[in-house]
Symmetry: C2
Subunit: 205 residues, 2 copies
Protein backbone atom coordinates (compact mmCIF):
# COMPACT_ATOMS: atom_id res chain seq x y z
CA UNK A 1 0.00 0.00 0.00
CA UNK A 2 1.23 3.50 -0.81
CA UNK A 3 0.98 6.03 1.97
CA UNK A 4 0.65 9.76 1.37
CA UNK A 5 3.69 10.60 3.54
CA UNK A 6 6.72 8.92 5.07
CA UNK A 7 5.55 10.05 8.53
CA UNK A 8 2.34 8.07 8.06
CA UNK A 9 4.26 5.11 6.66
CA UNK A 10 6.63 5.05 9.65
CA UNK A 11 3.78 5.33 12.14
CA UNK A 12 1.80 2.57 10.38
CA UNK A 13 4.86 0.31 10.40
CA UNK A 14 5.50 0.84 14.12
CA UNK A 15 1.85 0.44 15.14
CA UNK A 16 1.36 -2.70 13.06
CA UNK A 17 4.16 -4.41 15.00
CA UNK A 18 1.75 -4.56 17.94
CA UNK A 19 -0.25 -7.77 18.49
CA UNK A 20 -3.63 -7.92 16.77
CA UNK A 21 -3.12 -4.75 14.72
CA UNK A 22 -2.64 -5.02 10.97
CA UNK A 23 -1.67 -2.32 8.47
CA UNK A 24 -5.28 -1.29 7.85
CA UNK A 25 -6.08 -0.91 11.55
CA UNK A 26 -2.78 0.93 12.01
CA UNK A 27 -3.81 3.42 9.32
CA UNK A 28 -7.13 3.97 11.11
CA UNK A 29 -5.18 4.69 14.30
CA UNK A 30 -2.95 7.15 12.41
CA UNK A 31 -5.92 9.03 10.94
CA UNK A 32 -7.55 9.17 14.36
CA UNK A 33 -4.38 10.67 15.87
CA UNK A 34 -4.20 13.26 13.07
CA UNK A 35 -7.84 14.17 13.65
CA UNK A 36 -7.55 14.59 17.43
CA UNK A 37 -5.73 17.40 19.22
CA UNK A 38 -1.93 16.97 19.60
CA UNK A 39 -2.42 16.38 23.37
CA UNK A 40 -4.25 13.14 22.54
CA UNK A 41 -1.09 11.75 20.93
CA UNK A 42 1.17 13.24 23.61
CA UNK A 43 -0.84 11.56 26.38
CA UNK A 44 -0.71 8.21 24.58
CA UNK A 45 3.03 8.39 23.89
CA UNK A 46 3.75 9.47 27.48
CA UNK A 47 1.70 6.60 28.92
CA UNK A 48 3.63 4.11 26.77
CA UNK A 49 7.06 5.51 27.64
CA UNK A 50 6.22 5.69 31.34
CA UNK A 51 4.82 2.15 31.29
CA UNK A 52 8.01 0.79 29.75
CA UNK A 53 10.52 2.80 31.77
CA UNK A 54 8.89 2.86 35.22
CA UNK A 55 7.32 -0.57 35.51
CA UNK A 56 9.05 -2.59 38.22
CA UNK A 57 9.02 -6.28 39.05
CA UNK A 58 8.73 -7.54 42.62
CA UNK A 59 12.06 -8.97 43.78
CA UNK A 60 10.33 -11.88 45.48
CA UNK A 61 7.47 -13.00 43.23
CA UNK A 62 8.52 -11.22 39.98
CA UNK A 63 5.02 -9.83 39.55
CA UNK A 64 4.68 -6.56 37.62
CA UNK A 65 4.48 -3.75 40.11
CA UNK A 66 4.74 0.00 40.65
CA UNK A 67 7.57 -0.61 43.15
CA UNK A 68 10.10 -3.35 43.77
CA UNK A 69 8.35 -4.32 47.00
CA UNK A 70 4.98 -5.67 46.05
CA UNK A 71 2.09 -6.62 48.25
CA UNK A 72 2.72 -10.32 47.72
CA UNK A 73 3.86 -10.82 51.32
CA UNK A 74 0.95 -9.12 53.06
CA UNK A 75 -0.24 -11.14 56.07
CA UNK A 76 -3.75 -11.12 54.63
CA UNK A 77 -2.79 -13.84 52.16
CA UNK A 78 -2.06 -17.50 52.88
CA UNK A 79 1.74 -17.53 52.72
CA UNK A 80 2.04 -21.32 52.85
CA UNK A 81 0.85 -21.81 49.23
CA UNK A 82 2.60 -20.50 46.10
CA UNK A 83 0.88 -20.65 42.75
CA UNK A 84 3.46 -20.77 39.94
CA UNK A 85 2.35 -19.07 36.70
CA UNK A 86 3.90 -18.15 33.38
CA UNK A 87 3.15 -14.44 33.40
CA UNK A 88 1.13 -11.59 34.91
CA UNK A 89 -2.10 -12.07 32.88
CA UNK A 90 -2.43 -15.52 34.49
CA UNK A 91 -2.34 -13.90 37.93
CA UNK A 92 -5.02 -11.44 36.86
CA UNK A 93 -7.19 -14.31 35.62
CA UNK A 94 -6.76 -16.31 38.85
CA UNK A 95 -7.31 -13.25 41.05
CA UNK A 96 -10.49 -12.57 39.10
CA UNK A 97 -11.97 -15.92 40.19
CA UNK A 98 -11.70 -14.88 43.87
CA UNK A 99 -11.03 -18.57 44.65
CA UNK A 100 -7.38 -18.26 45.62
CA UNK A 101 -5.85 -16.47 48.57
CA UNK A 102 -2.25 -17.71 48.45
CA UNK A 103 0.90 -16.23 46.96
CA UNK A 104 2.10 -16.19 43.35
CA UNK A 105 5.39 -16.76 41.58
CA UNK A 106 5.93 -15.54 38.02
CA UNK A 107 8.27 -17.72 35.95
CA UNK A 108 8.49 -15.12 33.18
CA UNK A 109 8.04 -17.73 30.45
CA UNK A 110 8.02 -21.45 29.80
CA UNK A 111 10.80 -23.87 28.87
CA UNK A 112 10.88 -23.94 25.07
CA UNK A 113 13.98 -25.37 23.40
CA UNK A 114 12.65 -24.27 19.98
CA UNK A 115 12.74 -20.62 21.11
CA UNK A 116 16.02 -21.13 22.97
CA UNK A 117 14.42 -20.70 26.41
CA UNK A 118 15.92 -23.01 29.01
CA UNK A 119 15.26 -23.38 32.75
CA UNK A 120 18.06 -20.89 33.52
CA UNK A 121 16.10 -18.14 31.71
CA UNK A 122 13.13 -18.50 34.07
CA UNK A 123 12.67 -17.35 37.67
CA UNK A 124 13.19 -20.85 39.05
CA UNK A 125 16.13 -20.30 41.42
CA UNK A 126 14.25 -17.51 43.20
CA UNK A 127 11.31 -19.91 43.66
CA UNK A 128 13.66 -22.40 45.34
CA UNK A 129 15.06 -19.58 47.50
CA UNK A 130 11.52 -18.77 48.63
CA UNK A 131 10.87 -22.43 49.45
CA UNK A 132 14.13 -22.75 51.37
CA UNK A 133 13.65 -19.51 53.28
CA UNK A 134 12.78 -20.47 56.86
CA UNK A 135 10.49 -17.46 57.43
CA UNK A 136 8.15 -18.26 54.58
CA UNK A 137 7.14 -21.79 55.63
CA UNK A 138 5.91 -22.84 52.17
CA UNK A 139 3.86 -26.05 52.25
CA UNK A 140 2.32 -26.30 48.79
CA UNK A 141 3.28 -25.37 45.23
CA UNK A 142 0.47 -25.15 42.67
CA UNK A 143 1.66 -25.45 39.07
CA UNK A 144 -0.83 -23.36 37.05
CA UNK A 145 0.74 -23.56 33.60
CA UNK A 146 -0.76 -23.88 30.12
CA UNK A 147 -1.55 -27.38 28.82
CA UNK A 148 0.73 -27.37 25.84
CA UNK A 149 4.16 -28.86 25.23
CA UNK A 150 6.01 -25.94 26.82
CA UNK A 151 3.71 -25.88 29.85
CA UNK A 152 3.91 -29.64 30.38
CA UNK A 153 7.71 -29.63 29.99
CA UNK A 154 8.07 -26.81 32.50
CA UNK A 155 5.68 -28.46 34.97
CA UNK A 156 7.62 -31.73 34.70
CA UNK A 157 10.94 -29.95 35.20
CA UNK A 158 9.67 -28.03 38.23
CA UNK A 159 8.04 -31.10 39.80
CA UNK A 160 11.36 -32.99 39.54
CA UNK A 161 13.37 -30.00 40.77
CA UNK A 162 11.10 -29.46 43.79
CA UNK A 163 10.86 -33.16 44.74
CA UNK A 164 13.68 -33.01 47.36
CA UNK A 165 11.74 -30.48 49.43
CA UNK A 166 9.05 -31.41 51.89
CA UNK A 167 6.24 -29.98 49.77
CA UNK A 168 2.86 -30.86 48.37
CA UNK A 169 3.05 -30.25 44.60
CA UNK A 170 -0.29 -29.85 42.85
CA UNK A 171 -1.54 -28.78 39.44
CA UNK A 172 -4.80 -27.08 38.50
CA UNK A 173 -7.63 -29.49 37.57
CA UNK A 174 -8.00 -30.36 33.88
CA UNK A 175 -11.30 -31.51 32.44
CA UNK A 176 -14.50 -30.47 30.74
CA UNK A 177 -15.16 -26.75 31.34
CA UNK A 178 -18.16 -25.97 33.50
CA UNK A 179 -21.14 -25.29 31.22
CA UNK A 180 -19.31 -27.13 28.42
CA UNK A 181 -21.32 -29.67 26.48
CA UNK A 182 -19.83 -33.15 26.22
CA UNK A 183 -20.49 -33.60 22.50
CA UNK A 184 -18.43 -30.49 21.67
CA UNK A 185 -15.52 -31.27 23.99
CA UNK A 186 -12.25 -32.16 22.29
CA UNK A 187 -11.31 -35.86 22.39
CA UNK A 188 -8.14 -35.45 24.43
CA UNK A 189 -9.79 -33.45 27.21
CA UNK A 190 -12.80 -35.77 27.32
CA UNK A 191 -10.64 -38.90 27.29
CA UNK A 192 -8.44 -37.58 30.05
CA UNK A 193 -11.41 -36.45 32.12
CA UNK A 194 -12.74 -40.03 32.07
CA UNK A 195 -9.38 -41.59 32.97
CA UNK A 196 -8.84 -39.04 35.75
CA UNK A 197 -12.43 -39.16 37.04
CA UNK A 198 -13.03 -38.13 40.64
CA UNK A 199 -15.42 -39.36 43.32
CA UNK A 200 -18.78 -37.63 43.19
CA UNK A 201 -19.03 -35.31 46.15
CA UNK A 202 -22.59 -34.93 47.47
CA UNK A 203 -21.48 -32.03 49.65
CA UNK A 204 -19.79 -30.06 46.88
CA UNK A 205 -20.92 -26.46 46.51
CA UNK B 1 -11.10 -5.09 35.35
CA UNK B 2 -8.39 -4.70 37.95
CA UNK B 3 -4.88 -4.03 36.66
CA UNK B 4 -1.73 -4.94 38.59
CA UNK B 5 -0.36 -1.38 38.44
CA UNK B 6 -1.50 2.16 37.76
CA UNK B 7 1.08 2.40 34.96
CA UNK B 8 -0.62 -0.50 33.18
CA UNK B 9 -4.05 0.95 33.87
CA UNK B 10 -3.08 4.34 32.39
CA UNK B 11 -1.52 2.76 29.33
CA UNK B 12 -4.56 0.49 28.77
CA UNK B 13 -6.89 3.49 29.10
CA UNK B 14 -4.94 5.56 26.58
CA UNK B 15 -4.52 2.71 24.08
CA UNK B 16 -8.19 1.70 24.25
CA UNK B 17 -9.20 5.21 23.14
CA UNK B 18 -7.86 4.26 19.70
CA UNK B 19 -10.34 3.00 17.08
CA UNK B 20 -10.89 -0.76 17.01
CA UNK B 21 -8.93 -1.47 20.20
CA UNK B 22 -10.79 -2.57 23.32
CA UNK B 23 -9.46 -2.98 26.86
CA UNK B 24 -8.45 -6.60 26.28
CA UNK B 25 -6.48 -5.83 23.11
CA UNK B 26 -4.93 -2.83 24.87
CA UNK B 27 -3.72 -5.12 27.66
CA UNK B 28 -2.16 -7.44 25.06
CA UNK B 29 -0.36 -4.42 23.60
CA UNK B 30 0.87 -3.42 27.08
CA UNK B 31 2.23 -6.90 27.81
CA UNK B 32 3.95 -6.96 24.42
CA UNK B 33 5.62 -3.61 25.15
CA UNK B 34 6.77 -4.87 28.55
CA UNK B 35 8.20 -8.01 26.97
CA UNK B 36 10.13 -6.22 24.20
CA UNK B 37 13.25 -4.10 24.68
CA UNK B 38 12.67 -0.47 25.76
CA UNK B 39 13.73 0.71 22.27
CA UNK B 40 10.63 -0.96 20.82
CA UNK B 41 8.41 1.36 22.87
CA UNK B 42 10.66 4.37 22.25
CA UNK B 43 10.46 3.88 18.48
CA UNK B 44 6.70 3.56 18.60
CA UNK B 45 6.22 6.64 20.78
CA UNK B 46 8.60 8.68 18.63
CA UNK B 47 6.81 7.72 15.41
CA UNK B 48 3.48 8.80 16.93
CA UNK B 49 4.79 12.13 18.24
CA UNK B 50 6.56 12.90 14.97
CA UNK B 51 3.48 11.96 12.97
CA UNK B 52 1.31 14.35 14.96
CA UNK B 53 3.72 17.25 15.22
CA UNK B 54 5.35 17.21 11.79
CA UNK B 55 2.52 16.25 9.45
CA UNK B 56 1.64 19.16 7.17
CA UNK B 57 -1.38 19.83 5.00
CA UNK B 58 -1.06 21.21 1.48
CA UNK B 59 -2.22 24.86 1.38
CA UNK B 60 -4.02 24.29 -1.89
CA UNK B 61 -5.68 20.89 -1.75
CA UNK B 62 -5.47 20.25 2.06
CA UNK B 63 -4.07 16.79 1.47
CA UNK B 64 -1.83 15.34 4.20
CA UNK B 65 1.76 15.91 3.21
CA UNK B 66 5.35 16.04 4.42
CA UNK B 67 5.56 19.70 3.37
CA UNK B 68 3.08 22.52 2.84
CA UNK B 69 3.66 22.41 -0.92
CA UNK B 70 2.38 19.10 -2.17
CA UNK B 71 2.65 17.57 -5.58
CA UNK B 72 -1.00 18.28 -6.37
CA UNK B 73 -0.12 20.91 -8.97
CA UNK B 74 2.41 18.89 -10.97
CA UNK B 75 1.87 19.29 -14.72
CA UNK B 76 1.66 15.50 -15.01
CA UNK B 77 -1.90 15.60 -13.71
CA UNK B 78 -5.01 16.91 -15.45
CA UNK B 79 -5.47 20.25 -13.68
CA UNK B 80 -8.88 20.93 -15.19
CA UNK B 81 -10.68 18.38 -12.97
CA UNK B 82 -10.88 18.49 -9.17
CA UNK B 83 -12.22 15.51 -7.24
CA UNK B 84 -13.73 16.65 -3.91
CA UNK B 85 -13.37 14.09 -1.09
CA UNK B 86 -14.03 13.98 2.64
CA UNK B 87 -10.57 12.95 3.79
CA UNK B 88 -7.18 11.48 2.86
CA UNK B 89 -8.14 7.75 2.91
CA UNK B 90 -10.61 8.50 0.09
CA UNK B 91 -7.75 9.90 -2.01
CA UNK B 92 -5.70 6.78 -1.29
CA UNK B 93 -8.61 4.59 -2.40
CA UNK B 94 -9.16 6.55 -5.63
CA UNK B 95 -5.43 6.69 -6.42
CA UNK B 96 -5.31 2.94 -5.90
CA UNK B 97 -7.76 2.42 -8.79
CA UNK B 98 -5.34 4.13 -11.23
CA UNK B 99 -8.44 5.41 -13.05
CA UNK B 100 -8.14 9.10 -12.17
CA UNK B 101 -5.46 11.56 -13.16
CA UNK B 102 -6.97 14.87 -12.03
CA UNK B 103 -6.52 16.92 -8.87
CA UNK B 104 -8.05 16.44 -5.43
CA UNK B 105 -9.56 18.69 -2.81
CA UNK B 106 -9.95 17.52 0.79
CA UNK B 107 -12.98 18.96 2.59
CA UNK B 108 -11.75 17.73 5.96
CA UNK B 109 -15.17 16.41 6.93
CA UNK B 110 -18.85 16.50 5.94
CA UNK B 111 -21.67 18.84 6.93
CA UNK B 112 -23.26 17.30 10.02
CA UNK B 113 -25.54 19.53 12.12
CA UNK B 114 -25.78 16.76 14.76
CA UNK B 115 -22.01 16.97 15.33
CA UNK B 116 -22.03 20.76 15.04
CA UNK B 117 -20.10 20.72 11.75
CA UNK B 118 -21.29 23.42 9.38
CA UNK B 119 -20.06 24.44 5.90
CA UNK B 120 -17.74 27.04 7.47
CA UNK B 121 -15.79 24.23 9.22
CA UNK B 122 -14.89 22.62 5.89
CA UNK B 123 -12.34 23.62 3.23
CA UNK B 124 -15.03 25.03 0.92
CA UNK B 125 -13.86 28.62 0.51
CA UNK B 126 -10.44 27.41 -0.62
CA UNK B 127 -12.14 25.21 -3.23
CA UNK B 128 -13.97 28.28 -4.58
CA UNK B 129 -10.66 30.19 -4.58
CA UNK B 130 -9.15 27.42 -6.72
CA UNK B 131 -12.07 27.55 -9.12
CA UNK B 132 -11.90 31.34 -9.41
CA UNK B 133 -8.12 31.39 -9.85
CA UNK B 134 -7.47 32.23 -13.52
CA UNK B 135 -4.30 30.13 -13.75
CA UNK B 136 -5.96 26.87 -12.76
CA UNK B 137 -8.66 26.76 -15.47
CA UNK B 138 -10.89 24.28 -13.61
CA UNK B 139 -13.59 22.79 -15.84
CA UNK B 140 -15.08 19.95 -13.79
CA UNK B 141 -15.75 19.22 -10.12
CA UNK B 142 -16.33 15.57 -9.17
CA UNK B 143 -18.17 15.12 -5.88
CA UNK B 144 -16.84 11.82 -4.46
CA UNK B 145 -18.56 11.79 -1.08
CA UNK B 146 -20.13 8.97 0.97
CA UNK B 147 -23.76 8.08 0.25
CA UNK B 148 -25.17 8.85 3.67
CA UNK B 149 -27.08 11.80 5.04
CA UNK B 150 -23.95 13.86 5.71
CA UNK B 151 -22.45 13.07 2.30
CA UNK B 152 -25.69 13.86 0.45
CA UNK B 153 -26.17 17.11 2.40
CA UNK B 154 -22.61 18.21 1.66
CA UNK B 155 -22.92 17.31 -2.04
CA UNK B 156 -26.19 19.24 -2.29
CA UNK B 157 -24.67 22.26 -0.54
CA UNK B 158 -21.60 22.23 -2.79
CA UNK B 159 -23.59 21.76 -5.99
CA UNK B 160 -25.72 24.81 -5.10
CA UNK B 161 -22.70 26.85 -4.05
CA UNK B 162 -20.79 26.05 -7.26
CA UNK B 163 -23.76 26.61 -9.61
CA UNK B 164 -22.83 30.24 -10.46
CA UNK B 165 -19.50 29.11 -11.93
CA UNK B 166 -19.12 27.81 -15.46
CA UNK B 167 -18.39 24.23 -14.41
CA UNK B 168 -19.45 20.69 -15.05
CA UNK B 169 -20.42 19.23 -11.68
CA UNK B 170 -20.46 15.43 -11.53
CA UNK B 171 -20.75 12.74 -8.88
CA UNK B 172 -19.28 9.25 -8.85
CA UNK B 173 -21.57 6.56 -10.29
CA UNK B 174 -23.82 4.71 -7.82
CA UNK B 175 -25.11 1.25 -8.58
CA UNK B 176 -24.57 -2.46 -8.12
CA UNK B 177 -20.89 -3.14 -7.38
CA UNK B 178 -19.02 -4.97 -10.12
CA UNK B 179 -19.07 -8.68 -9.31
CA UNK B 180 -22.03 -8.06 -6.98
CA UNK B 181 -24.97 -10.46 -7.36
CA UNK B 182 -28.36 -8.87 -7.91
CA UNK B 183 -30.23 -11.01 -5.41
CA UNK B 184 -27.97 -9.87 -2.57
CA UNK B 185 -27.97 -6.16 -3.47
CA UNK B 186 -29.82 -3.87 -1.08
CA UNK B 187 -33.21 -2.60 -2.28
CA UNK B 188 -32.29 1.08 -2.38
CA UNK B 189 -29.17 0.59 -4.51
CA UNK B 190 -30.96 -1.85 -6.84
CA UNK B 191 -34.02 0.41 -7.19
CA UNK B 192 -31.87 3.43 -7.90
CA UNK B 193 -29.73 1.54 -10.38
CA UNK B 194 -32.86 0.70 -12.39
CA UNK B 195 -34.23 4.25 -12.31
CA UNK B 196 -30.81 5.69 -13.25
CA UNK B 197 -30.07 3.03 -15.87
CA UNK B 198 -27.59 3.95 -18.61
CA UNK B 199 -27.40 3.10 -22.31
CA UNK B 200 -25.57 -0.16 -22.96
CA UNK B 201 -22.22 0.68 -24.48
CA UNK B 202 -21.02 -1.96 -26.93
CA UNK B 203 -17.58 -0.34 -27.00
CA UNK B 204 -17.05 -0.19 -23.25
CA UNK B 205 -13.84 -1.72 -21.99
Amino acid sequence: MEYPTTLIENAVNEISKLPGIGKKSALRVVLKLLKEKPEFTDDLAEALIKLRSETKYCRICHMINDTEDCTCMTPKRDTSVICVVEDTPDIMAIQHTAQYNGLFHVLGGLISPIDGIGPEDLNIQSLIDRIQHADYNVKEIILALSTNMEGDTTAFYLAKKLKPFDLKITTIARGIPIGGELEFADEITLGRSIVKRVNYDLNAD
